[in-house]
């Protein structure tokens, strides 16, 4: 396994080229290019904010709902796109797999990384709303909670969270990509599963509001729930409470375990990709 890892290092330029290929192909044909990928989350943000603040203005409506929502939606989009992408990464590159030898793990990893870059590029939009809200909302009914949402020192946790999520998505991607080679119905199941997963992850609601007996279950079975809860701590609740380092560490460990399991599984079966794809 160590030899495999060393070999992967030799192919790091392949990884670079695959990521660049992904990004270039994605944005090559549209004039607005990357900005289209922002349109979707911003539209969703507008709709959900309208629904939860105007249509359903309960006591439980979150102040600054649009930031509450957007800071969870963006990492979720990274999760959803890279899950669908890694799922097809081996099968969709069958012509390569059958003709050239290269470390196959490069394909799912490159999908996760190119979607990560996409996510990183969308973060300025989130910061923009965070800053905009702080200046514009002076004197608004949300004044009291205004300090909730601002850019501050807790953001130093952000890189660790991003690495955690990347590790999680790679581990999951290894599993799904390999499974899809042998059982093509995997992709159908995942498509259905993704919409369920969206609602089972605290994106439109708050993880802290989940009923006690389910909260732990949710955190353990769904690493995305922990990851999103962490994001929300640093982006949304950042001044009322500081992020819990132990929770972040636990999430990282859980994701690393999944990554290792996924990698081992992938390595175990990748030898037969050449004949099964």
């Amino acid at each position: 396994m160590l030899a495999r890892a060393r070999q992967s290092v030799n192919y790091k330029d392949l990884l670079y080229n695959l990521v660049v290929r992904d990004l270039k192909v994605r944005y090559k044909h549209s004039a607005l290019g990357f900005f289209w990928s922002l349109l979707n989350p911003l539209l969703l943000m507008a709709v959900f904010t309208f629904v939860f603040t105007a249509l359903l203005p309960g006591d439980k409506a979150k102040p600054a709902f649009h930031i509450f929502f957007l800071c969870a939606l963006l990492p979720w989009n990274w999760c959803a796109t890279s899950t669908m992408g890694t799922l097809q990464s081996i099968v969709g590159n069958g012509h390569l797999i059958k003709k050239v030898y290269f470390p196959r793990e490069m394909l799912p990893v490159s999908v996760v990384l190119s979607n990560m870059i996409n996510y990183l590029l969308s973060l300025p939009a989130l910061f923009f709303f965070m800053l905009l809200f702080r200046t514009d909302s002076l004197g608004s009914p949300f004044l009291a909670s205004c300090n909730n949402v601002c850019v501050n020192q807790h953001l130093i946790w952000l890189p660790i969270l991003i690495v955690t999520q990347a590790i999680f998505l790679m581990g999951l991607g290894f599993l799904l990509a390999a499974l899809n080679v042998f059982f093509r119905d995997t992709s159908v199941l995942v498509e259905v599963g993704l919409s369920a997963w969206f609602f089972l992850t605290p994106i439109i609601y708050d993880a802290k509001a989940v009923a006690g007996q389910y909260a732990n279950l949710m955190y353990y079975l769904n690493p995305m729930a922990s990851i999103i809860a962490n994001y929300r701590d640093i982006f949304y609740y950042n001044s009322s409470l500081s992020p819990d380092p132990w929770f972040i560490l636990r999430t990282l460990i859980e994701c690393t375990i999944l990554f290792i399991a996924g990698y081992l599984f992938f390595m175990r079966v990748s030898g037969s990709f050449g004949e099964e794809v």
Binding site: N17, H95, K98, K99, Y101, F102, F183
Partner: protein, 526 residues
């Protein structure tokens, strides 16, 4: 590079005169591991008891459960029947217990029929698939020309694809940048290099793919019938380049059905049949053995087919084409085929036969210079094709003819008794006609023979058997010529320190300064 290619194409160096040790067959001076080198050559590829089993899934009725059980090796044979009734699978061994070692600098051809395991062997070497049992060890950088242009993305430009493809082969961006110019030049891309690949012609894509694959400086180059595609000029360029790589000491594994190309490029050939090694040795010997074997098998198949057809033919009295494919125009085509004009609208399958039943060509035998029957001919030696007939009634002025084809269907000639001025008054009963070549000009290979007998006007097709027989030509010791199809009786001469060519050209060439007789177009001088 041009100089090196010349040396190989002119066939300098008599293969037969040099002892057949694999490394000395091509007397190439600048090889990295020449024979006199006291060091043993490095083993770069080793197959030890290597086997590969493929499972044919007819419908893939597979479940997650089976997958999980298989992967983690938990399957318990005693419980298997209880756990789930497994679907019947068909298994076959693409490669079975294969052993060989390939040394640095060798050029090894792998030959065999379709399904003999050639491509599987290449894929095992390139690690695309893994052996079911046994070991495959490979040392050095492998570049596989399995399919040109693999991995090109249509939306990316040529330049971007060069780097992407290079990194697929494990080359760093820095190294690729150094080779970039060479690649663009070899591929003859010019200003198109910054155009997306989807606007390229297929020829350009292939050129680019080939240029990348060979410019990554491989230690081992694998090729699998890549040269079967593309125009002839490109194929030649590729073959020449591969020959050049070989001289630089690159190990080459060459899989092809084009035995001529294998013979020309490789010093060693491995013949696979049904996944097993049948022969492994100097290319000439192995290819000749293979051709002989193939020829015998081919002849046997045809004999079997003819026996089946012959029994039917007995019951058919009126003129009927035996093969339905010739039914519509059965009378015209065979004459055309005999004259060497293959019908344009369809390819006649070897073994196709038309007959009116008046005369039966009962067989063809091949005779050597001593008049003994053989299926092996030798370049430059006498050779006779004997056509046996049985006329069921008396027929006036028949014409016997034949046609020679190469193995892949190129029509070589179509002589007949009429063209040769041999008038046969009549035939009745059994007999034979001989076609004798005093010095067979054909080079090594397998050739097919069409035989026919027609009426006096060459329109009534009494019996026509298209490419129904074949013989093998083997190289003659002492005759080194081996490129192409023919050995023409000719001689070379050498004239140093003379420039007779220049003088001749001055005398014979048209000179534009000749006075123009027509006064309507006066020269500037006048």
């Amino acid at each position: 590079m041009a100089k090196l290619i010349e040396a190989s194409d002119s066939g300098i160096g008599n293969r037969e005169a040099i002892p057949p040790t694999p490394d000395s067959q091509f007397p190439i001076p600048d090889r990295r591991s020449p024979t006199p080198d006291p060091k043993p050559p490095t083993k770069v590829i080793k197959f030890s008891h290597t086997s590969k089993r493929f499972t044919l899934h007819h419908e893939r009725p597979r479940s997650f459960q089976e997958m999980v059980v298989n992967v983690f090796g938990l399957r318990n044979p005693s419980k298997r029947g209880v756990a789930m009734p497994r679907p019947a699978k068909e298994e076959f061994w693409a490669v079975r217990d294969v052993n060989f070692s390939i040394y640095a600098g060798e050029a090894v051809g792998i030959i065999g029929e379709n399904g003999s395991g050639k491509s599987t062997t290449l894929k095992l070497i390139s690690r695309i698939i893994e052996p079911t049992s046994g070991g495959v060890s490979v040392r050095g950088k492998v570049s596989a020309l399995l399919e040109l242009g693999t991995g090109f993305h249509p939306d990316l430009t040529g330049r971007e694809n060069i780097f992407l493809n290079g990194s697929l082969l494990g080359i760093s961006r820095k190294e690729m940048a150094q080779r970039y110019e060479d690649i663009v030049e070899f591929a003859e891309m010019g200003e198109f290099i910054d155009t997306p690949i989807k606007h390229y012609s297929s020829g350009m894509v292939m050129r680019l793919g080939f240029a990348v694959a060979i410019n990554v400086d491989p230690d081992i180059l694998l090729t699998d019938e890549v040269l079967a595609v593309g125009d002839e000029a490109f194929q030649r360029k590729c073959l020449e380049y591969i020959a050049g790589l070989r001289r630089r000491g690159v190990t080459i594994i060459f899989v092809s059905h084009a035995l001529d190309a294998v013979r020309g490029l490789c010093n060693r050939v491995i013949w696979l049949d049904h996944g097993r090694v049948v022969a492994d040795g100097p290319s000439g010997e192995v290819i000749d053995r293979y051709l002989t074997y193939e020829n015998e098998r081919h002849a046997h198949r045809l004999r079997t087919a003819q026996r089946g057809g012959g029994s039917q033919e007995g019951s058919v009295a009126r003129p009927t084409p035996v093969d339905t494919s010739g039914k519509n125009s059965g009378d015209d085509e065979p004459v055309g085929a005999l004259r060497g004009q293959a019908p344009a609208h369809e390819v006649i399958a070897p073994g196709t036969r038309w007959t009116t039943g008046d005369v039966t060509l009962t067989g063809v035998t091949f005779l050597d210079g001593r008049g003994e029957e053989t299926t092996l001919a030798h370049t430059g030696a006498p050779f006779t094709i004997r056509i046996h007939y049985a006329a069921h009634q008396k027929l006036e002025g028949p014409v016997f003819g034949l046609a020679l084809f190469t193995e892949n269907g190129t029509h070589l000639n179509g002589p007949n008794t009429r063209f040769a001025g041999l008038e046969i008054p009549s035939i009745e009963g059994k007999g034979y006609v001989d076609y004798t070549v005093d010095e067979l000009p054909l080079l090594a290979g397998r050739y097919d023979v069409t035989v026919a007998v027609t009426g006096p006007d060459m329109a009534d097709m009494y019996d026509h058997q298209h490419r129904a027989y074949s013989f093998v030509v083997q190289p003659t010791p002492g005759l080194a010529e081996r490129w192409g199809l023919l050995h023409m009786p000719a001689h070379w001469s050498f004239h140093p320190n003379r420039e007779s060519g220049v003088k001749n050209r001055e005398e014979s060439d048209y000179s534009p300064q000749l006075p123009i007789p027509d006064s309507r177009f006066p020269t500037p001088d006048s």
